[in-house]
Symmetry: C2
Subunit: 375 residues, 2 copies
């Protein structure tokens, strides 16, 4: 343990022969003090290397920094991990004047604008937001900007200049790794397809073009079909994938590049192609676990929802407490999960009496607090 050594307002004040309050005002850019005094204070502060004591500030101001967490409710989903990441990262600050306020909405694209407005109405200091339908959020983004409330977008981008930062997966890396691995694992004469959400979404577009680039570089003669878009709809994902597979029975590999992996996998199964395709998918969901174990799915790219949450909070808090502006976009590298390291992610049931169907269930993946998924 050591004694505190930091420079205080008092140090600056006595050096300049001013009062503490004057120094405080100068540093906070309050109105009503001479430009000269202000300049002197700023110079002395920089000179002495003054850093405000946040403990004292939080203590006296008696106010909490309130941060809105706007995520889809959908239970037992990746959003649970996102929320847990945010909470865990916020935890050390909860005892020091930080407060998280949840504004959950039923699902992506449903009620998210209302939730955003609700957060702004509540007068929060910052917002962490999973955007579903960016168009519907445009007004709220503008309002947040006019209120000077910083917004961090999570998981997908919302094309708005009025936000502090976006934390999302490194789509280039996902697409490139999928393309690279697919190129090498695919038998000599196979064609390739990709299912995606919506090519109008930046991340989805990036994953596809990155995949395409890698495939072309590694096996220029391989046919890559146009992406199968599912527009984030389960039924569309199933229908369109099934239709595509029935039309292209010669397909060699499939990259399921976004969510909705379960219906896409079901389509593969119903087309009778399970085990005949080289498949890479995205994230961990209940249905993919046994397929990876069986080897019918070669691997999946885990997009680290927990880390997304942690980093989003971290950026926002740092900005609110110190004014440090984060990069406009923070991209997280995916984890590759294959058969060999699947068990590092899927919580093993320790109870021998546990129902067989429970093994690798979504609950144990998402709520088992598997350490590997907490990064």
């Amino acid at each position: 343990m050591g004694l505190k050594t930091g420079v205080t307002l008092g140090d600056i004040a006595s050096k300049l022969g001013l009062s503490i309050s004057t120094v405080s005002r100068a540093l906070q850019d309050h109105s009503g003090l001479s430009a000269e005094t202000k300049a002197r204070v700023l110079a002395a502060s920089a000179d002495l290397g003054y850093r405000p004591n946040l403990a004292a500030r939080s203590l006296v101001s008696g106010r909490t920094l309130r941060i809105a967490v706007n995520t889809p409710q959908e239970i037992l989903s990746v959003y649970d991990l996102v929320r847990k990441g945010i909470r865990d990262e916020a935890e050390p600050f909860l005892a020091m004047g930080v407060e998280l306020v949840d504004f959950t909405f039923p699902r992506l694209g449903e009620g998210e604008a209302e939730a955003f407005e609700g957060a702004l109405d509540a007068g929060v200091d910052g917002v962490i937001l999973v955007p579903g339908a960016p168009a519907s959020l445009k007004n709220s983004f503008a309002r947040a900007a006019s209120m000077k409330v910083p917004v961090v977008c999570l998981l997908t981008d919302a094309p708005s200049e009025q936000k502090l930062s976006t934390v999302c997966v490194n789509a280039v890396s996902c697409g490139a790794l999928a393309g690279e691995l697919m190129s090498r694992l695919l038998p000599a004469h196979g064609s390739l397809a990709v299912t995606t959400g919506d090519l109008k979404v930046t991340d989805h577009q990036e994953k596809f073009s990155s995949f395409e680039r890698c495939v072309q570089r590694n096996r220029a003669d391989t046919l890559l079909y146009d992406p199968i878009e599912n527009h984030e709809s389960e039924s569309e994902a199933y229908e369109r994938t099934l239709a595509f597979l029935n039309q292209h029975r010669d397909l060699g590999g499939l990259y399921i590049s976004t969510g909705n992996g379960a219906p896409a996998l079901r389509a593969v199964e119903d087309a009778g192609l399970l085990g005949k395709l080289t498949i890479f998918s995205t994230n961990l969901f209940r249905e993919v676990v046994p397929q990876i174990r069986l080897g019918t799915v070669a691997g999946t790219f885990y997009e680290r929802p927990y880390s997304h949450g942690r980093i989003a909070f971290s950026l926002l808090y740092k900005y609110l407490s110190t004014g440090i502006v984060p990069p406009p976009r923070v991209s997280l590298e995916p984890f590759l999960i294959m058969r060999g390291n699947l068990d590092c992610f899927v919580h093993q049931q320790n109870h021998p009496e546990a129902n067989e169907t429970d093994r690798g269930s979504i609950e144990s993946i998402l709520l088992g607090e598997t350490l590997a998924s907490m990064q």
Copy 2:
């Protein structure tokens, strides 16, 4: 912004008709108060959901939490990233009574015991430590334990029960992914070899056996030679790898499972086998970058030194500030880097006039603050 709502010592005191100081003493387990009072306070505190305001505590105590950072000096190495991770994670707390104290030592196994002793002599509150020669640290571990100074081991484990936690790479995952990918990328009739540091080190042993298990499962007929140990010595790594390669010209794949990738790669080159082997390596080092670009190295497993640092600090701080004991071992998943996503890690020089040899130099990798390596 919101008003602070937390339960304070005053709330407990007035509820029980006691003074604030008595309540404070009861909660801190000070001696000299009646067991009954203490019990009442504890009950009321739990009842009201009291959480100490750390801001106030830090403010009044006027002491800093001092944490020693014991890492090898070696400039332009992964240790720079480790230190940066620790500093970045500590940053928000530096303004709130936390202080980092560096005890660097020349290199692994050289002066590390002295550095450890130095930290303990300085009376720090916790130690983050990269252990090189665990045997030489045994006494210091014991002393730390007797002083109740928590120690977090970083990057490699030190077999001591007297530590708070160990943060290291998930060796099982590294070995399994390497084995899985190697199994699939290797031509039909190739044998395999692994270079490693020292099989007495848990992580190294785990990587090898995990690799072996995956190879056996995927291609049972493939010959896997005994590991080539280099005992963390550059010259030994070069000599032994070269000797091995000259004795086994039929080798199909090589997994460079720990550091010392550069001399191992040089051995491959000098044996005239570059381009004829399927190679996976570990971490990013200057020499591997062009080989990945050329395709002569299939991929490398990046072990995320920056994240190691961040997480080590995070665990230690949480323990020191709240008493929450972390898991004894935290394993980080590796990132897979292949040709397609190499540029996400290697800082691209934007100046066309930059020397060609600068591209992918170790400096730009390690110090370019590439976002992808900051996870």
